[in-house]
């Protein structure tokens, strides 16, 4: 642990919402007063014991936290190296880590007197979590989802509708998460008075990246305690998949100042990080730019036009990454790698067959990297992978990709 705050990696963002040069508040004037009000309300809530008491109660009784830290014994034996643990956030209510953050934002929205909630969603997990919490509190919910994603994540679309949300398919652009976020911002700029924008990842204008990180940090806090209990020490390596990067930031943040803990983020390599940009690896294949309210690494052409990217996983199909990840990448505190569709599919199968867990395609990317590095690590190396979502939503995509007939 560093002895003073100057050497800490946990002090960001600064008062301008920056992590180093990344982050900020790049939004239109109409939204600026709303963002400042949100910041003030969040700063207040953050130090209010009542706020956290409500969160803790809901996390325990509604979400089912703490999620287990599970020793993946058969996988460990199969790989023959590092001792592998899964942080089981796929066991949360609604099947992913997304609800950790949604609860925080909706409680805040209620405190602010907002009656209408909007959200963007890629894989649909954030949309489902938002629709769920809105149903619980009787709030109107509108979810923007790329038309392409509506098609490939049909089960989640149906879930959102069951929960009473309005799902708006977005046809601009290529119809993925980026375009959904554009339309959510357009809605917000139009309905400023009664609407709260519940962002699903550690991106967007300040204070969203910090706020979402703080809500998701429950993952890393629990992991610390659970690992101390299980092994009497901290893990050696922690790994998570990254689209915008909220599950990863949640796991990483409480470990940032533990310099002996290696941190690895796994981006979606799609068909391979190449010049054709058929991937979503913003850090590996992008460069700094400004989109959706923050400066971060983006997939873009030489004229600053944003590229669409590609991934089999709708949840990772985003051309940017949270600004804190961009900063951790630049200062070298975390390492970022990429995994292709094919590697993720292989890991998906391995997880099903060796652990009896059907993972979402998003954490399958993180698992694929575990499969790569674990065999070469010593047996006493403690490795934690965030199993941030379950794979029920992905079975159709996987069946198609593997050429399986679901009836047969």
């Amino acid at each position: 642990m560093p002895d003073d705050l100057i050497n800490s990696f946990m002090t960001g963002p600064d008062e301008k919402g920056r992590f180093g040069d990344f982050g900020g508040r790049f939004v239109s004037e109409t939204l600026m007063p709303l963002i400042l009000e949100l910041e003030a309300q969040y700063e207040h809530a953050k130090t209010d014991p009542d706020f956290w008491a409500e969160m803790d109660w809901l996390w325990k009784h509604y979400v089912g936290r703490p999620s287990p830290l599970y020793y993946a014994e058969r996988l460990t034996e199969r790989l023959g190296g590092a001792k592998i643990y899964f942080k089981r956030d796929e066991l949360n209510h609604t099947g992913a880590h997304k609800i950790n953050n949604v609860l925080g934002q909706i409680i805040l929205a209620r405190r602010m007197g907002k009656t209408r909630i909007i959200a963007e969603t890629g894989a649909g997990q954030h949309g489902v979590a938002t629709a769920t919490v809105c149903a619980k509190f009787g709030l109107k919910c509108v979810v923007y989802m790329g038309a392409h994603d509506v098609e490939r994540q049909a089960p989640n679309v149906f879930r959102m509708k069951l929960l009473g949300a309005e799902v708006v398919p977005v046809t601009s652009g290529r119809g993925t998460l980026k375009d959904a976020m554009n339309d959510a911002l357009r809605d917000w700029v139009t309905n400023v008075r009664d609407t709260f924008y519940c962002i699903g990842t550690v991106a967007g204008p300040h204070p969203y990246p910090a706020m979402v990180r703080d809500f998701q940090s429950i993952i890393g806090k629990e992991t610390r305690e659970q690992m101390m209990e299980a092994e009497g020490r901290l893990p050696d390596t922690i790994i998570a998949a990254i689209g915008g990067g909220s599950n990863a930031m949640g796991l990483f943040y409480p470990f940032l100042d533990d310099k002996d803990v290696a941190i690895i983020g796994v981006e979606a390599g799609g068909k391979g990080v190449n010049e054709k940009m058929e991937h979503c690896a913003s850090l590996t294949g992008g460069r700094p730019g400004v989109l959706h309210g923050n400066r971060t690494y983006l997939l873009q052409d030489e004229d600053g036009q944003i590229l669409e990217g590609y991934s089999i996983s709708a949840g990772l199909d985003y051309p940017g990454i949270g600004p804190e990840h961009a900063w951790l990448h630049d200062v070298g505190r975390a390492q970022y790698v990429s995994i292709t569709d094919a590697e993720a599919l292989e890991a998906f199968k391995v997880c099903c067959e060796t652990e009896g867990i059907i993972p979402a395609l998003e954490p399958s990317h993180a698992l694929a990297h575990v499969l790569k590095i674990a065999p070469d690590l010593p047996k006493d190396h403690l490795l934690v992978m965030n199993l941030c979502g379950r794979g029920d939503k992905d079975i159709f995509t996987v069946a198609r990709a593997l050429g399986w007939d679901m009836q047969g």
Partner: protein, 263 residues
């Protein structure tokens, strides 16, 4: 004094309100767009807002989004947008050009390089939608130092407490967005806009131009009547998008300009 300042001084002397027209550079293609821009001064346009296309125009409605897509698909770039400004200046025309768009294409070029190129191309001012006063160090202050006006949007959510922050470092004119919403949405009524313009003018000597949702010469006249001028964008862009001949587009612009000038 920039060309924008000169234009407002002239209009004041003539007792006329300003008419500002927005078109997307490169929409539907470079040649047509260039022809339209070169025709705007003759159609009575006092200030040209030249849209810089961007893939993710998060404050724009479908009309401007589609215009940007058409332009990008036709191969429009930042360089070719500057080419259109150069083409107008090459005719000797001094109508002010305000480049309007989003920050990333500018950031990608590099702020210092961009400002040098924009100024040399004859651009007079910038409206960058996603740069609020909180980010003034990025482009606003360097632009002013380079002699370009940085025009800010004020909106119905910009209350009296925030207004001074928005007006500081704003130059050329203030663009009052008359509704909360995206471009091309329903128009505000002049009766509602008047008090808002007065509220802004109480805190600045800059001209206040009002836009968003104006579609007819009558609306342009009514809005200009309660402000220093009116902006029309989506309604013009919609006609360009329908493939109307350039002469018809310019005739429509002429009618709007006449309306605003009567305001």
């Amino acid at each position: 004094m920039t060309r924008i300042d000169d234009t407002f001084a002239r209009l004041r002397a003539e007792g006329k309100k300003a008419f500002v027209a927005y078109v997307m550079a490169g929409d539907p293609d470079y040649e047509t767009s260039r022809e339209i821009v070169l025709g705007l001064p003759g159609a009575g346009v006092d200030i040209i807002e030249l849209g810089l296309p961007f893939t993710d125009p998060m404050a724009d409605g479908p009309t401007i989004q589609l215009a940007g897509q058409r332009a990008l698909e036709a191969g429009q770039t930042l360089d070719r947008t500057l080419d259109i400004a150069r083409a107008l200046r090459a005719t000797g025309d001094e109508t002010p050009i305000v480049m309007m768009g989003y920050y990333n294409p500018i950031y990608s070029r590099g702020v210092a390089t961009f400002l040098e190129e924009a100024r040399a191309a004859g651009i007079d001012g910038l409206i960058v939608v996603d740069l609020p006063p909180e980010e003034d160090d990025e482009l606003c202050l360097p632009a002013q130092a380079a002699g370009l006006n940085f025009i800010r949007l004020a909106t119905p959510t910009t209350d009296d407490k925030r207004l001074p922050k928005v007006l500081t470092n704003t130059s050329g004119f203030v663009y009052y967005v008359s509704i909360t919403g995206i471009t091309g949405a329903a128009a505000a009524q002049a009766t509602d806009v008047g008090p808002e313009v007065a509220r802004i003018k109480a805190q600045t000597d800059l001209p206040v131009i009002v836009g968003f949702g104006i579609k007819t010469p009558e609306a342009a006249q009514a809005i200009a009547g309660v402000a220093d001028g009116a902006v029309v964008g989506s309604a013009i862009v919609e006609r360009i998008g329908k493939g109307e001949p350039v002469a018809d587009v310019l005739a429509y612009v002429r009618a709007l300009a006449d309306g605003a000038h009567r305001g």
